[in-house]
Each structure stands twice: as structure tokens, then as C-alpha cells.
Amino acid sequence: MDQQVDTIKHIKQTISTFICNELSVDIEDIDSETNLGAYGLGSTAATILTGILENTYQLRLSPLLVFDYPTIDTLAAAINEQLKESQELTRS
């Protein structure tokens, strides 16, 4: 369970870091329940973020994921779900 919490935290951090660096938003201004569009995440930036998340977590993500889960909380949860699935797949 603790590991789960850590993974979600890590994913959230990856997203926040991207918002902070790529969109020049102060880290204190980033809120995990705010729509990412509010920080200026346009379609190109969303695609770049998808690619970074794919590489960081060794996953293949839908290009629409960021639009379907548009906050840091929901996006991190969705990626965590996919991560669990892929880990179960490798185990079996």
C-alpha cells in the first residue's frame, strides 16, 4: 500500500515538474485539482507531457489521456492504474 502512495506521489511530481519547467509556472501556484489547461497546457505541450510520462514509466499512453483526466490528481491516478495493469501483465 505504501508503495502505491509513493508511486502516485512520484507521478504527481513528474507532472508538476513539467508544468513548472515547461510552462514557467511557480511550483507554489500548482494545485493538483486544477484543470491543467489553466496553467497553459496546450495541445502540443500535452503531447510532449504524454511522451515524457511514457518514457518515465515505460508505458504506452493514449494521446487523449491528458484530455480525459485533466487534473494532476486524476491523471496521476489513471497512470497509476495503467502501471498496475502492466505490472500484473508482466508478472503473469
Binding site: 489553466a38 497553459g40 505541450a45 511522451g51 494521446p63
Partner: protein
């Protein structure tokens, strides 16, 4: 008529530089029917579709046959296609049937107004799309003026069984007729369709071929979308003039995983591939040794960098990262072009290191003068965008007096030549102003006013310094500030009928920042303390949803402090300089 049986290489080269591109397709479908023309790569970089020269011709002929039964010569046909090989089939179908193709980007499900305005502007009654796209779009058009559009479903048109014949490749097409309309220049409320003629296309294509010494062995990899002039002209029409093999992928694939783009260049031994400046930055930022396993970029001879500001730092970083894989600095091809001139204007010569200048920022931005500097302080590096092709005459003119500028003076870039397009569709007034400028009073020669500001360097290269008007160029796309301002004011009721100004500047890290300055009234000013955060959120979200870009900063200013002209027009450049000089009172 006396029939030919074969073509020498020289004959082919001359022919394709003198006939409409659809006739070149017919000729090549006869000359080398089974040669692979296009390969499409899916999101993972795997081959998912191919077209030979004959297959494209047969499928396009079938589309043309259908169009001839349901439309008239010169009718506009809207093309709604996701990136893939079906688009080019429909496009050539239009050209072979002498219908005017209108390639459009797929609208966001909820925001079809721009599309509807274009449909009204060009007066199209017929649209083509794959079945899935049609289903997604048709619902959005209900209850708009575009509701009674007739749809042709791409999958329902089966390839023709005809074979090309050498005596019929030359069509009766009038070369000065419009081949397609390029709608990337106008704003949402006033779309502007650039009328590109058959002659414009083959002239511009042979300009690229000759300026860059390309031939049938110059294979390419392209990811730019086909509704953009670079993606269509360079990515999908140039291959047919050259007779090469071209690999296409979706923009999303290259942006999500730049390694798939670079690996495709390596795998297909591409000679030509490129994009706007940001893709090179991205390829550096996302570099990982494992993704580049086996990468060999030694075949890559020409890497166009255009449609946006070309940055020296980007070129240097990309070279530093990828030289170990055989990439050469001489491969970079900074270039300049615009849809109003079909596409290509300057770029090259080939096999030379990029040229650049360090110029005094103040002299450049305030006095429009070029002054070379040696110290890095207060300087701006500009990258030379090459020489024009011999087909074109390029002049730098003072935008107010319309006289040619002195050397080292900055002015508007003016162009004369056979690839300058016929103007804007059904917009005589703006066409006159933009396309029929004269350097001398009473002269016959018409020049295109590009609206871009630049100068010719002592090294003979053209240097681009910015836009005459307030147009914002972001990720290779043109954005009209009035469209963004409109969206801001519509984004929430809490703003009511305020005014705002949107502009873009380059920050200290050479990155683009787009700023919105919103004027408050007394009521909003009072509410601001508690509502500013939520307002910023709503505005930001609405802008990214509508325009696909992000605002870097949203600032509020006191009532009646937004600068306007006497006729009530927002003075964006004045607001920009106040903001940058810290002279703006911000709430």
C-alpha cells in the same frame, strides 16, 4: 497523334517543372507505376499503409470520377482528414477533376465556428472525410449554416481500374486556375483563403528541388500536418515532382516521441526532413541513449527549419547531441516562406554552415536599424534564412513610404515572382493591398507584401526580425491576437465587457511568452482580490481548449488604462512595450 515511347531523365525534369502536379502524377504513374510513393507510420513508428505511384493515381481518378458526377468545374471541396494517406488521394481527386481542394484541420468537437466560417467564405457545398471523421464532425455542424453540406465518404469510393496512358497524361488544365485554397492566414471571424494556382505549385516545387539539389533519390520523412502549407507542399506534393519515396507520420507521433521521427530518418535513409524550430529543441530535451540505439543520421542532407523563429542555440544544441550519430551542422537549412507565396521563398545554398549575426537589440526593436555588436549584452542573435531562388525577386521596402530600404535598414519583405499566389478568395480589397504593391509609382510589377520584417545581411542572407502587425507565431502556427482576446472575454461572465490586449515576446531564456493584459472596471477591480485566481484558471483553460496554446501570464490593470487608438483599436505593441519596460500599473 505521334506517340512517344520513352522519356530521358532531362525530359522528365523539364516536364515536371512545367505541368500541373496532377499531370506529373499521371506521368510518373506511367513511368514507374510500382515504385513506392508514400509509407505511413503509426503511433509506434510501424508501417501501417503504403501507396505506389499507380495506386495513388487509380484511387485519385476514382475520386475525380465521383466528383464529376456531383459537382461542377471550379467547385470547392472541403477535405477533413486525419493525418494519413487517404488525404492525398482526395486532394489529387479534386485536382484531376478541376475542383478546388480546401484542406482543413479537424475542428475540436465543440468549436466548429472557425470551420463554419471557412465553409461560408469559400461557398463549398461538398465535403469529403473518412467515415469515422464524418460521424464525429457532422453532429457538430448541426444547427449551423454548414448543416446541409453534402458529405462524400472516402471509404465508399473504390479505386479505378484504369491505367495511365502516355498520350493522355497532359490534361487540359489551365495553369492559372486555382488548384486549392490554403486557409491558414486569416482570423476566426475573417478567414482568408489563399488562392494557390496550378502554376504556383509546380513553380514552387521546382524551386525547392533546384535550390536544394534534390532528385528522385532524395527520400523524405515528414510529420507536418497536411492542412499546413509546409506539410502539404513540401511533405506531400514535392515527392511527386521528385519521384521519390516519402514516409509520413502524424504530428502527434513526432511530438510525443521525437525518437520515432529520428529513427525513421535513419531507417529510410532520408535526405530531407525537418520542421519548425521547436521540434529540434524537443529532440534534444527528450534525448535518451537507449531510444537512439542504432541511429544513423548520415543520410540526412537537408533539415529545413522554418515557419517560426530559427534560434542559433537550438541548432547548436541539436548538433552537439546528434553529431555522434552522423548529423552534420551543414545539414541545417534555415528557411523562410509563407502560404501567400505558395510556401518556399528563401533557403540555402546547401552544404554551408548556418549564418548568423549578433545585432544590437535596441537599434533593432526601437530604431529598425541593424547594428552588429560583439558583446553578448543587449544583443539578439539572428539566424540567416538563406537566399531566394532565382525565380523570385525579394525586396526590403519601407512599409510606410513603400520605397526600397537602404542596406542595413530593416523593412517589410516584398516578393515578386511566379510562385506568388493569386490572392485571397473573394476578397478583392485585401488582395489589392497585399498582393499588388508597387515599388515605383506606375510600375507594372506587382509585389506581395508579406507583413514580415527583415533585412538582407552583408553575407547575402535574409534575416527575419518579426511581424509588422501583431500576429503571434507559436509552434509554427499563426495566431491572431484578436481571436485570443475574443476567447478571453467570452471565457467567463465575470469579465463581462472588458477590453484586453494579447501579445507575445521572447524572454531572457529565448522562450516565447504570450501575455494577456486585461482591463478591469471598478466592480471587477473590487472583486479581483478574491476572484483573480479563479479567473486566471477559467481564462487559461478556455484559451488552451480553443486555441491549443498556453498563456504565460494573465495580468489585470486598472480601469481606463488600456491604450487604444482614437478609433478604439487596442494598441497591442504599445501595451507590450509598457509591460516589458515595467511601466504598466498591474493590479
Amino acid at each position: 497523334m505521334f506517340q512517344k515511347t520513352q522519356f530521358t531523365t532531362s525530359e522528365i525534369l523539364t516536364a515536371v517543372a512545367n505541368i500541373p502536379i496532377q499531370d506529373s502524377l499521371s506521368l510518373r504513374a506511367w513511368l514507374h507505376p510500382d515504385k513506392k510513393l508514400f509509407t505511413f507510420l503509426d503511433d509506434e513508428g510501424k508501417e501501417s499503409d503504403t501507396l505506389t505511384y499507380l495506386q495513388l493515381w487509380q484511387r485519385a481518378v476514382a475520386v475525380a470520377d465521383v466528383l464529376k458526377t456531383c459537382s461542377d468545374h471550379g467547385d470547392r471541396i472541403l477535405l477533413f482528414y486525419p493525418q494519413g494517406l487517404d488525404f492525398i488521394v482526395a486532394f489529387f481527386g479534386c485536382l484531376l477533376a478541376n475542383r478546388i481542394a480546401v484542406p482543413l484541420s479537424l475542428p475540436n468537437r465543440r468549436r466548429v465556428d472557425k470551420c463554419v466560417n471557412v465553409m461560408t467564405d469559400c461557398g463549398a457545398r461538398i465535403a469529403m472525410a473518412p467515415h469515422r471523421t464524418y460521424e464525429q464532425l457532422a453532429a457538430g455542424f448541426k444547427e449551423t449554416t454548414a448543416a446541409d453540406t453534402q458529405w462524400l465518404i472516402a471509404e465508399e469510393i473504390k479505386p479505378s481500374l484504369k491505367l495511365p496512358e502516355i498520350n493522355t497524361f497532359r490534361s487540359l488544365t489551365n495553369q492559372d486556375e486555382v488548384a486549392f485554397l490554403q486557409y491558414t492566414s486569416g482570423s476566426t471571424s475573417t478567414p482568408k483563403g489563399v488562392m494557390v494556382t496550378h502554376r504556383n505549385i509546380f513553380i514552387n516545387l521546382h524551386m525547392m528541388r533546384d535550390s536544394w539539389s534534390l532528385d528522385a533519390n532524395s527520400d523524405m520523412v515528414f510529420w507536418q500536418p497536411h492542412h499546413h502549407d509546409m506539410g502539404l507542399i513540401m511533405g506531400q506534393l514535392l515527392p511527386i515532382l521528385l519521384g521519390n519515396h516519402t514516409v509520413i507520420m502524424s504530428p502527434n507521433t513526432a511530438v510525443r516521441q521525437p525518437s520515432i521521427w529520428l529513427q525513421a530518418i535513419s531507417r529510410y535513409r532520408a535526405v530531407l526532413s525537418g520542421g519548425p524550430n521547436f521540434i529540434y529543441d524537443l529532440a534534444v530535451a527528450r534525448y535518451s541513449e537507449t531510444d537512439m540505439d542504432g541511429l544513423d543520421l548520415s543520410s540526412w542532407k537537408i533539415a529545413p527549419n522554418g515557419a517560426d523563429v530559427v534560434r542559433l542555440k537550438t541548432l547548436e544544441r541539436f548538433y552537439a547531441t546528434y553529431k555522434q550519430y552522423g548529423f552534420k551542422m551543414e545539414t541545417f537549412m534555415p528557411c523562410y516562406g509563407l502560404a501567400e507565396a505558395t510556401l518556399f521563398v528563401t533557403g540555402g545554398p546547401t552544404r554551408q554552415l548556418p549564418k548568423y549575426m549578433e545585432v544590437d537589440k535596441d537599434e533593432l526593436e526601437v530604431h529598425r536599424k541593424v547594428k552588429s555588436v560583439t558583446s553578448q549584452l543587449d544583443s539578439r542573435s539572428l539566424v540567416g534564412c538563406g537566399e531566394p531562388n532565382w525565380e523570385l525577386e525579394v525586396a526590403i521596402a519601407n512599409p510606410e513610404t513603400c520605397k526600397e530600404c537602404a542596406p542595413s535598414e530593416i523593412g517589410e519583405i516584398w516578393i515578386h515572382g511566379r510562385s506568388v499566389t493569386a490572392g485571397y478568395w473573394h476578397n478583392e480589397e485585401v488582395t489589392q493591398k497585399t498582393f499588388h504593391a508597387k515599388l515605383q509609382q506606375g510600375a507594372d510589377k506587382n509585389f506581395l507584401r508579406t507583413g514580415d520584417i527583415g533585412f538582407i545581411g552583408t553575407d547575402g542572407h535574409i534575416y527575419i526580425c518579426g511581424r509588422l502587425k501583431d500576429l503571434i507565431i507559436c509552434e509554427g502556427r499563426n495566431l491572431h491576437p484578436e481571436d485570443i482576446e475574443y476567447t478571453i472575454l467570452q471565457s467567463t461572465d465575470r469579465l463581462k465587457s472588458q477590453s484586453c490586449a494579447v501579445f507575445s515576446y521572447e524572454n531572457d531564456e529565448q522562450r516565447q511568452a504570450i501575455v494577456a493584459v486585461i482591463e478591469t472596471d471598478r466592480d471587477l477591480m473590487r472583486r479581483l482580490e478574491s476572484e483573480a485566481k479563479i479567473l486566471r484558471g477559467l481564462i487559461g483553460q478556455s484559451i488552451t481548449e480553443t486555441h491549443g496554446i498556453g498563456l504565460s501570464k494573465i495580468v489585470f490593470i486598472p480601469p481606463a488604462t488600456l491604450k487604444k487608438t482614437t478609433s478604439g483599436k487596442v494598441q497591442r505593441s504599445l501595451m507590450k512595450s509598457l509591460y516589458l519596460n515595467g511601466e504598466l500599473e498591474v493590479l
